[in-house]
Amino acid sequence: MSDADETLDVAPTTFSPRAFRWQRRRASAADFWSRFRGDRLALLGLIVLLVFIVMAIAAPWISPKEGLSAVDSIDNPTWAPPGRGYPLGTDNLGRSVAAQFVWGSRVSLWVGLSATVLTIAIGAAVGVTAGFFGRWTDATLMRLTDWFLVIPFLPLAIVLASVLDRSLRNVVLVIAITSWPGTARLVRAQVLTVKQRLYVDRARALGANRAHVIRRHILPNVAPLILANLTLAVPISILTETTLAFLGLGDPTRASWGKTLEEAFNAGAISRNAWWYYVPAGAGIVMVVLAFTLVGRAIEEILDPRLREGGA
């Protein structure tokens, strides 16, 4: 190998750690995929997710943005049932429900994913810090976590959403602030068990500092848990976004499924029996949430050794 050096007094070796590491990563990715593929429901969830993701990305090409504007829809029939030019009908202002559905998927997926990433980032940072450093750091952070945990979630979210500006970014922030404590507790518990392992003692005996122990031993053992938690937290974020939007606390300038439901409710779509107005948004939420749950459950089962026979 290129990195063998003749000037050394020890025998050169043909072993290349870098190549080996990549080979190992490829092997474990292949292993992961073959396990995942064995779970039909998870595969179905993945396909549903991919369809929605493609739809969200391709929204401008599928459905022109003008369809969302009441001004541009002024000539359209109102409360038109699905058919002739309006695949999902129109609403009380003559806007295309199909356009709202397509564009709404963007907001739901984007808010769901980014709020989850932020939630997990806060939760993981707090959990790792509290679990690893222990003592007063742990006590302080855990009291803070408990404090957030006992605050009733919806009232806090409503208060925050009404105090802050009505923007998508603030919706993400509100969701993250109210939902990180669960992740923090979960990660802390895992860090506490990993910290007790003898190989952490060995690393310390080898001269490792805290950064090394966290990077090489703690994080790799917590990462699968975080990843599984991530996929399972997305549906919660999406539902929260829908809730906030339905309560009129979302971004008023963007079409989201929650906002569609709110407007349909306010316009009296239910009493008019205009099912085409609210069913697509509701079905979209249910499908995305279910798809994420199916995928997340499968990932959790594959990555979390406690859910797998024989361990990792």
Binding site: M1, T14, L206, G207, A208
Partner: protein, 321 residues
Amino acid sequence: MSDALLELRDVSVTFSSRRGTVRAVDGVSLDVRPGEVLALVGESGCGKTTLIRSILGLEPLAGGTILVEGKPVNQRQRTLRDLRRRVQMIFQDPTGALNPRHSIYDAVAEGIRIHGIEGNEPALVADALSRAGLRPAERYMARYPHEVSGGQRQRVLIAGAIALDPQLLLADEPVASLDASIRGEILALLRDLVEEQGLAIVAVTHDLGLAWNIADRIAVMYLGRIVEVGRAEEVLAAPQHPYTRALLSVVPEMERVEQQILTGETPDPSRIPAGCRFHPRCPLVASGEAERLGILGRCTGVDVELVQRGDAHWSACHALP
């Protein structure tokens, strides 16, 4: 004294629990010279593992000092890192001590990376593995701990430790978790490291027979204290402390001595008895020998210290002259 590699001066380690403070190690003084094998013998719970963990700074000291080559060990990160290159440890449970997610290569390379040792990393790892008896090294590098046997895992730990070229190796029950057939090989490997590389070893064991196999000197520990220390052949052939004699009498190879089974459990280190801490289990007290010698009052009331009785042979017992 200054020629000692490791000096322990009145070292204490305490743990606080809900029931109060536990003195796991209670005033231990000990020297280890370069290239020497010292066996630390005692029952489980006597503080021997805690003592060697404290040498590496894995347990904070409650009192006393530890000097490595005359320099005191403290909890400062930089001193600790330097210390942890010159002193290395191998653990009782090699399975638990190896991260299951790391390959054997990574496990051995870990110390090399931490200390930024110069040189070609794969070559250094290969060298350490083959010195630890895993040859050809290439065959083991790409494996994971669960893919090799227990004895090989212990060799991986030894390779990881000697990759740093330490002067002192702390071995915590190095063969206790291994099959009898593998024990001899690992002991021979440790002995070779001492003879070929001038390594000093402090080996913790509960097995006097093992101590007899590898040790130059033996220190017998009871309830956080050293009760007898001396050259291995002297301690084994002419044990002075009644506790050492009791331990020795149950070693199967020692046929000539009458077995003395100690009564009672190892006392609780959170409630250390007054006087000689061994007196509630001491055969001399139980048989009335102490009373006949007129020292019973001292046994139950006066703490004993190590006293030199013979050439470099120390023991702590009121009944000895």
